[in-house]
Symmetry: D2
Subunit: 152 residues, 4 copies
């Protein structure tokens, strides 16, 4: 979508907002990269992230993908904007098996109000080899001036 | 979709499978009801389930909805079947605010291999008043005879 | 979603807009009902609407569902608003076989900018018996003041 | 997904099946390319393909994308297989304005029963300049041995 680095103020807004992402942090997720229109998040596997067969639960992968998609969009929003997820679709391509999940999100189409974002989720083996485990197509909304939704 | 109660063996299979749902249990989710083609799950709010604005994270609501949808489908599967999520779409209708989230899933169309399932997610205030917060449309798959995917 | 009849001016706006729906009209679609937050469209089967197996093409059913969803949303928009489809997901539940397809759309959540709409598509046999053939979950947007998108 | 050309028998199956696509042909769609796991379809604009604002109707773009996605999947199926659309999600990124729409589909994950396919829809101006107008994420199913669904 975009090239180059995020300006320092925008990067700070992203990092500060991410630091308030209680759920993602509780799961162990970390922001690896953030750039204009792009974000990469990583989530190490832990037994408590599994579903009944021992793989990453689709909900954990979705949490990661949705959050990456949200921050990819957030990088392109004005500084008083807040990002809300309108909707997403997630296709699970393979069982989510591996030492970590990595979500790479990219804004396909920025807009003043809405942004369409794609996020691919890869599962990485101990040796670093990655396989595409899931893909998300999401719509993010920029909200401004709503008292119940603070910026971030 | 269906009426009546689940037969005892099917209910036991569902309960035993749910008892292996490490991620959902870790979040505090509980199975409230299970019936042929239907499942209801509940998730009390906790600060660690929140996103940056203090509402339920979409990923937590999705985890609940996906799991409810999976068990709604599982009730209609043969006893050696395992349920895998093929894909879902989730629309977030309102900020997920409340004392608990409740996912009510119903199979719209059962099939031998694929089942289409709808799951509505409500957020309940302390006084029990509920509002529709999100709705999911999902495709579940019945897998049989795959060594890497045990029944359940 | 809503009860009662549409006020005459809103109904006229819907009917006038629908009369400009070249594609839907070309396929033979007709608006059967329009009410606040709801719309019903009908499309008689014709051989040129079929896919390779002789059933309604998913694209024809989607056209009907998307249009019904759009007008369900449009009934709740201000008079200078135009409706644009942001996105939709469609699950095909059964082969689209029958003498006609009927799309019934209902706004699940109205909003000033975005509306979430569900549309069910039924296929009706010659004797009128209906079966649910597909279901759509859609996001519609109200656009105002865009010179390239006239009201309607 | 895949490289190289389709073997002649598979290409003939695709072309013969496409020749029975009454709806797509009625709209004026043509198959431009077919390769293992990939398909490209083109649809010239005509006034009867428009919605109320004069752009390509989302349903026409969806028909093109769904059909391209179906044939991308079909190239990877056994010769007695038939392809059915399970579901798709479509995000409309820009008004569908232009002299033609082009759908480019690619299988993201092949499977014996299910295939996940992405299809991007571009609108091309008279001078050939293309813009991404929509993107689809779809699930296709391979059906074998169903008397009511002939191969193709």
């Amino acid at each position: 979508m975009s090239a180059g680095a995020l300006d320092p103020a925008a990067e700070r807004r992203c990092r500060e907002s991410f630091a308030r992402q209680a759920f993602v942090l509780h799961l162990g997720g970390a922001m690896e990269e953030i750039a204009p229109g792009r974000a990469v998040l990583r989530l190490p596997f832990r037994p408590e992230l599994a579903q009944q067969h021992g793989f990453f639960h689709a909900g954990a992968l979705t949490t990661l993908a949705d959050t990456a998609a949200g921050y990819a969009a957030f990088t392109l929003m004005p500084e008083d904007g807040a990002v809300l997820t309108v909707e997403f679709k997630m296709n699970l391509l393979r069982p989510g098996r591996g030492a970590a999940a990595i979500a790479r999100a990219e804004v396909l189409k920025p807009g003043r109000t809405l942004m369409t974002v794609r996020a691919d989720v890869f599962c990485a083996a101990e040796n670093g080899a990655e396989q595409l485990a899931a893909t998300m197509l999401a719509t993010m909304m920029c909200v401004q001036g709503r008292a119940d939704v603070p910026p971030g």
